[in-house]
């Protein structure tokens, strides 16, 4: 099992390298280069050449990629083109905000979704199962901003329960922070619970259809015991994958939600950087999002390996 986990870690590191190469390649699609983007209309051939040398743009692409990667690993993310501040200073606090919001949403949605999915699977075909499936199908189809706007309209404009904008600042108390971020977190919860619940139900049902579960029922065991002791240990690994898939979704779903509630996170920051075409910012933000995604998926795979009873007790 240790060998399997180490293999998965190595694969994760290889994936991270490939992802970084792909993101770097993507940012090089521009016909011109960063130097002409900075100088814009005022560019003369001499100033362009000087700036290119300054930024190291006269080097071949693979050399620039290695420099960038080295900078990224050592914490030097370069300078923003728009306001000439170090990218790292702008990026990390916002990344912290985004992770806090995603964690808040995940802490609420994961237990609810897994319990609902389990309940629906156990009562397959019953009223509860059918009803919750229709509701889930509707929620899966609703875009984040539609839900977000409805929540603002009802919870903050009509009943004035929660603020409509997620204004956060450093040093605010935890209670204030919760109040400010509840609406965006709730939007994320509504979007992910439906999806996660449907996937959990499918994962549990595929285990419930197996012969050994039928045997357990035929032995006369109670439903509760069959589900908790026989089915769940084998369904745990797929459920962990479902949860990881949705937390990974949260990381990008957060981009739209941050825009709705004007939350000062990495998603909104990256969108602004794309609009201003600030290359170093976009590159760094994309790499951070990509890395978070890859690392989460690796953790999920490792957890699935660790949870698999057959791998834990090898013959």
């Amino acid at each position: 099992m240790i060998k399997l986990i180490l293999k998965r870690v190595a694969l994760g590191i290889l994936t991270l390298l490939l992802v970084s190469a792909l993101i770097f390649a993507g940012t090089q699609l521009l016909p011109g280069d960063v130097a002409s983007a900075i100088l814009g209309q005022n560019a003369t051939p001499e100033s362009l050449a000087a700036l290119r040398q300054d930024l190291g743009l006269d080097l071949p692409a693979w050399q620039r990629y290695l420099t960038w990667l080295h900078g990224f690993v050592t914490g030097d993310l370069g300078m923003s083109l728009a306001n000439r501040q170090p990218v790292a200073d702008l990026l990390w606090p916002r990344f912290g905000n985004t992770m806090a919001l995603a964690a808040y949403a995940a802490l609420v949605s994961v237990p609810i979704a897994v319990l609902l999915g389990l309940a629906a699977a156990v009562r397959r075909g019953g009223m509860f199962d059918r009803g919750i499936n229709i509701v889930a199908l509707a929620f899966v189809s609703l875009p984040e901003y539609f839900l977000g706007l409805l929540l603002i309209l009802f919870l903050s404009v009509q009943f004035n329960l929660l603020p409509s904008l997620a204004d956060t600042y450093s040093g605010m108390s935890f209670g204030d922070w919760l109040r400010a971020t509840t609406l965006p977190a709730l939007t994320l919860v509504l979007v992910t619970v439906a999806q996660m619940m449907r996937m959990t139900r499918t994962a549990v049902l595929s285990v419930m259809d197996q012969a050994y579960v039928e045997t357990a029922f035929l032995k006369g065991l109670r439903t509760k015991r069959v589900v908790l002791r026989h089915a769940l240990p084998n369904a745990a690994a797929p459920i962990v994958n479902v949860v990881a898939f949705n937390i990974a979704y949260l990381i990008t779903g957060v981009v739209l939600v941050e825009a709705i509630f004007n939350y000062n996170g990495l998603g909104r920051f990256m969108v602004d950087a794309v609009a201003k075409r600030d290359l170093p910012l976009v590159q760094a933000a994309a790499m951070v999002f990509g890395a978070a995604y890859v690392i989460l998926n690796s953790i999920a795979d490792i957890a699935a390996i660790a949870l698999n009873p057959r791998l834990r007790h090898p013959r």
């Binding site: 199908l137 901003y145 539609f146 794309v274 075409r277």
Partner: protein
Amino acid sequence: MRAKLKAIPISAWLGLTIVTLNLLVFVFGPMLAPYGMNEIVGAPFDPPSAQFWFGLDQNGRDMFSRLLAGAQMSIGVSLAASLISFSIGIPLGFVAALFGGWVDTVLSRIVDTVMCIPVLISALVVLQALGSSVPVLIFTIALLDSTRVFRLARVVAQGISVLEYAETARLRGESLGWLITREILPNALPPLIAEFGMRFCFTFLFVAGLSFLGLGIQPPFADWGGMVKDNQQAILYGLYAPLFPAAAIALLTIGVNLVVDWLLNSGAAVQGADR
């Protein structure tokens, strides 16, 4: 035929109706619109009335007319992206499945790597480099989405190519083109059609989302995601303006999902097709 029509559940009828209505609006929308999409007809955020069914937007333009006209961009861009995505993903997926070996390995590894990055993040990187325009949007989304189509097409083709009739055709010495067009494609069509609905839903929400972020379809064109963004502030005053385009987006998505659900349940699903 009659019995077949009767077998269609209500939810699927509802979905089919929604999709048909949207397609009609997509084709005839601009002709049906009572006012021009950029024509200012009153004060900003005038509430709905008999003359202006959905009220006026932040610039005093008729919301109903803009919704009708905006369908062209919102639906058109995602439809074009899905079509291109399928015409890239399906042939490559089939070729990877039939050839196997290094062709399959190379294509699959490239697709795996692209899929390691969230689609939205990849799209933002490309839009940063190339700027946002309709062709860039269509091709970026089509290329990114074709990775999903490739995976499904490959799995489906692999399943079919080991069946007797495909095996027989290969032993008969039929060409690759024959195998793909005469043996694989007809039998792979049902799951691929259901997948087309799912992919369209995804690209449609994706384009609308990018427009909502201000990075999708740009003015002077009207589109539903952009209309939500432009009118977003009105919600703070208890006005429903941004809810109309948002509901239009949600409605079409639900409609397509209902149709796809019916297609999948009526036996078009292929076992083991992952997404």
